[in-house]
Amino acid sequence: MYEPNTDVIQGTLDMLILKTLSLEPMHGFGIARRIEQISRGVFKVNPGSLLTAFQRLERVGWLNSEWRQTDKSRRAKFYSLTRSGRKQLEIETTNWNRRASAIARLLKAEG
């Protein structure tokens, strides 16, 4: 039985996180859910990878994080984009578009 691959394309998780956060600050699950919804279920994010990616992006300085009280009076960690994160998103988007259209051209040419 064929099961569709829902793994995030390698190397794009950072970009997806940055894009998602460019709309508004969000917590981990929110980001995962948003990526899943907007991609219409094509991508499912692995929670372990996601949470590790947060650490990495925060260290590099693209994300800020803060703890907020949720309505259920629990702590939740919210992430937001920094200015350099926004810049990075632009760079990655341009990069991705360049590469994606190149791949699209290649595939068309073959067909």
Partner: protein
């Protein structure tokens, strides 16, 4: 920016790991709750939703670990965990830890201490600006022999070269009486030409350098003093104008003080201008040492070529009147170190080998422990520990061990370096510069790192290789390591034995040389000889006139008469130099054989006669008294020694040594021959040979007996080159004679400093460098031997443990105790024989490098080789006998059940 963030974030995590862990846990839990809530919102029941969320998330623990493993701080965290674990392992095994640490401390401490000596003497730059530009300059004879510079040749070198910016001459230091400070002192004085201090690039820190006026021939006297003389005898005064030093018959105003640490030539306290007493301008009186500063952009080789050209020009111009035909130029640092280099490198090699043996020993111990820990390792691998992670663990352990041992070693080195001055030979150059400094510490650190890395990699490699499953199964019994690891330990011990043999042979060769040397008789009786070295109260010149000699004789006679009256004194002799101990400082040169010819009236005529080899000879020049021969016990072979009839105005007489008689008059009777040795004391009166005495090894015990011409002090007097010495043979001890003698000297010559000693002590000083080398190499050899013994014992004892069951079976099947003994001893013997064979093969190649340090034994001396091989084999047998005896006494019943 991001690096800084990396750093601070990591630091925050490190600072409070618990809070960081709680944050991670909270975030993961929150994720789980949100996911559950989302499933509930889709219409699942709370229980189903929780299950679905968990399924999606996977194990929360795994996620937490994944997040936690991120960042550099995690590496550090692991390192700390490893360190804690290592500390637990090491403290949990105090015996192993103590032995390994001490072994490493010994190896690293000894190498660090020796390195500090090598660094100070061989490696460190001389304390002058651009020291590599300073060279020593010699004349070179056709046979390649280096000679000091004759004054006229020096002037030519200085005037005609274009490669040296300053060329200066200086005398060998002269130990003499210096008065005018707070009290008279025996101090070293050097006469230096203009440019001397510019060559070295150091100026007086107080006062000034000699002026042109003071460097003019027969110019104004002046003296520059060393820092320590200034501090000790001039009270560190600011105003130097009040001080006038009285030395060598002149008065010298002090004009400058050299800075602390300026020590060239070594030990000199007073420098005076050399132009005060210009010599005759001869081209064969090699009185001056040359030193120069090379011009910028010029190499030492270019300087040499330049001076060679000048030397050949001198040779062409003056022909037989000069004895040089070339020049030698050597960097000052190399010239100072001279032949100490071989001895120091030998020491360094010995200590390096010792470190190697120490490492092999610790490696052997590690190997045994790794084998014992295989089960633990197998379990950890089975539980998912990566090999890399395990290797990291082993590296951490060996680093902890090596650093603990290494730091202890540095501590030992500090103590050793404090103790060094007591055993360092006095003639080792630059020894006051030996300190623990940054290069020495870096060396120690490098040694520790090298040891740690090699031991760690070695242990890790041994630990992670092999089959986990096999280890787990084997682990069901007390597992003591496979045959492969045991073979490897045997390998280590073989290497250890070979290395130890090499050090032992080195020590053996040096030891046999030393024994040969001290059993060599100098040609006289050395026991019960008190020596008194002193300076004469009257000034000395090279050439003494008769009235000066008469005055000197009167003083010396009075002194001798009163000293002879001291209770216990049996006989007393006077000499112009201490034989043997003075070594190379004895005066020597060519003499004329007159054969009825008229004696020369001046030195030009003297030189002319000397050009005919059949009219010339070579000998040492020794001033002595009649009592000298009796006191030292030098036998009279023919003729007579000096007597009362040989007064100042009687015909001058000489006594010669047997070697000279044999060399110069092989088929004739030397007694009655007339010779002239006036070039030694400026006195052209001919000498008639009246006697032949027994040979003396005047140059040192390691030199053959010298040809010597003795002259009578009552006829020739002592001149500038003499260092007057009284030799007393006595039943009384030095401590009883010295106070009385001191009182006599004080009565007769209150300004004269006197040095009391015994001949044995003076000889001891002469032997000091050999004794030092022998002592240290012997010490290292003994340490290596002890380590090798422990190593052999360890391997054999371990083998007995490993083979306990086998031995039990053998005994149950009827093997006798002697069979078991043979079995175990055989194992030790195999290691020993292989190690000894390898060691001897290596020694044959390596000991040749020691040749220059040996005396009377060859570098492949069969007795030493055989003796050392035998010793090491015996030690190996004894070391294996102890565990063998244990094996022999095993109860088969017990051994069979041994687990």
């Amino acid at each position: 920016m991001s690096l800084w963030r990396q750093f601070t974030c990591g630091l925050r995590v490190l600072g409070n790991r618990k809070a960081a862990d709680r944050d991670t846990a909270d975030e993961v839990n929150h994720y789980l709750e949100e996911a559950t809530a989302a499933f509930v919102a889709r219409g699942l029941s709370p229980d189903e939703a929780r299950r679905a969320a968990r399924l999606e998330l996977g194990s929360t623990t795994a996620v937490r670990e994944q997040v936690r493993g991120y960042g550099w701080e995690n590496r550090i965290h692991i390192l700390f965990a490893d360190l804690r674990y290592a500390a637990r392992i090491l403290t949990g095994n105090p015996g192993f830890t103590a032995v390994s640490m001490l072994t490493l401390a010994l190896g690293i401490g000894a190498s660090t201490a020796i390195f500090s000596v090598v660094d100070a003497v061989l490696l460190r730059a001389l304390p002058y600006p651009n020291p590599q530009k300073i060279v020593r300059v010699w004349e070179q004879a056709p046979d390649g022999h280096r000679m000091n510079l004759a004054n006229a040749n020096f002037e030519d070198f200085r005037g005609q070269n274009n490669t040296i910016s300053h060329l200066a001459a200086y005398t060998g230091d002269l130990l003499t009486s210096v008065a005018g400070g707070s009290e008279p002192a025996r101090a070293r004085v050097a006469a230096v030409s203009s440019g001397f201090f510019q060559v070295l690039g150091i100026e007086p820190f107080r006062g000034r350098d000699f002026s042109a006026e003071e460097h003019r021939p027969h110019g104004a006297p002046a003296a520059i003093v060393s820092y320590s003389y200034w501090r000790d005898y001039l009270a560190g005064a600011t105003d130097l104008s009040q001080f006038h030093l009285r030395l060598m018959g002149g008065v010298y105003p002090v004009i400058g003080v050299m800075p602390a640490g300026f020590d060239f030539p070594a030990g000199v306290a007073v420098w005076i201008p050399s132009e005060l007493d210009p010599d005759l301008g001869t081209r064969t009186a090699h009185n001056w040492r040359g030193i120069g500063r090379v011009r910028d952009g010029i190499t030492v080789a270019q300087v040499r070529a330049n001076l060679s050209t000048i030397a050949r020009r001198i040779k062409d111009q003056y022909g037989k009147k000069v004895d040089l035909n070339d020049a030698a130029v050597v960097p000052l640092a190399d010239a100072i170190v001279g032949d100490v280099r071989t001895a120091l490198l030998t020491l360094f090699a010995a200590v390096g080998l010792l470190l190697l043996v120490a490492c092999a020993n610790v490696a052997g111990l590690l190997l045994a422990r790794t084998s014992a820990r295989r089960k633990e390792l197998a379990v950890r691998v089975a539980l998912g520990a990566g090999r890399f992670r395990l290797m990291q663990q082993f590296l951490t352990e060996s680093f902890a061990l090596s650093f603990a041992g290494g730091l202890l070693g540095i501590l030992l080195a500090v103590l050793a370096i404090r103790a060094l001055p007591a055993i360092l030979p006095a003639n080792l150059p630059r020894q006051q510069e030996i300190v623990i400094n940054t290069p020495v510490l870096l060396f120690a650190l490098g040694a520790i790192l090298a040891v740690a890395a090699s031991l760690g990699l070695f242990a890790a490699w041994r630990a992670v290789r092999g089959d986990v499953q096999e280890a787990l199964i084997a682990g069901s019994r007390t597992y003591t390591g496979g045959a492969a690891s045991h073979r490897f330990r045997g390998f280590l011990v073989t290497g250890e034995i070979a290395t130890t043999l090499l050090i032992l042979i080195g020590a053996g060769l040096l030891g046999r040389s030393f024994l040969r040397l001290i059993s060599t008789t100098p040609g006289f009786r050395q026991a019960n000889l008190v020596t008194i070295q002193f300076s004469l109260p009257t000034p000395l010149n090279f050439s003494q006139d008769e009235s000066a000699i008469a005055r000197q004789i009167q003083q010396l006679d009075e002194l001798a008469t009163r000293l002879r009256a001291i209770p216990g004194v049996q006989s007393l002799g006077l000499a112009g130099a201490m034989p043997v101990a003075a070594g190379d400082n004895l005066a020597d040169g060519g003499f004329l054989i007159l054969n009825g010819r008229k004696p020369p009236t001046n030195f030009e005529e003297w030189d002319r006669i000397a050009q005919n080899p059949s009219h010339a000879g070579y000998a040492l020049y020794a001033v002595a008294s009649e009592g000298y021969f009796r006191t030292l016990g030098i036998p009279l072979v023919r003729g007579r020694i000096f007597g009362g009839q040989d007064g100042l105005h009687a015909p001058h007489v000489a006594v010669i040594s047997q070697t000279l008689a044999r060399e110069r008059w092989p088929n004739q009777d030397p007694v009655g021959q007339v010779i002239d040795f006036g070039n030694m004391d400026g006195n052209l009166k001919p000498l008639t040979i009246v006697g032949i005495v027994g040979d003396v090894r005047a140059r040192g015990l390691d030199s053959p007996p010298s040809p010597i011409i003795y002259v009578d002090y009552r006829q020739r007097g002592m001149n500038l080159n003499a260092s007057p010495t009284v030799l007393i043979r006595s039943t009384a001890r030095l401590g009883e004679i010295a106070p009385v003698a001191r009182g006599i000297f004080h009565d007769l010559a209150p300004d004269v400093p006197v040095k009391f000693s015994t001949f044995a002590d003076e000889m001891g000083g002469w032997l000091a460098d050999r004794r030092f080398l022998l002592f240290l190499v012997g010490l290292f050899a003994a340490a290596a031997l002890a380590l090798a013994t422990v190593g052999i014992y360890g391997v054999v004892a371990f083998s007995v443990t490993r083979r306990t069951q086998e031995i039990g079976i053998r005994m149950a099947l009827g093997a006798q105790r002697s069979d078991v003994l043979r079995l175990i001893l055989g194992e030790g013997a195999r290691l020993a024989i292989l190690g000894v064979a390898i060691g001897i093969a290596a020694s044959f190649v390596i000991t040749r490098l020691l040749s220059s340090l040996l005396f009377g034994v060859s570098a492949t001396d069969p007795i030493t080789f055989a003796g050392v091989a035998l010793l090491l084999s015996l030690v190996a047998l004894v070391a294996s006998y102890i565990p063998a005896r244990h094996a022999m006494r095993l109860d088969p019943n017990h051994a069979l059940r041994y687990e």
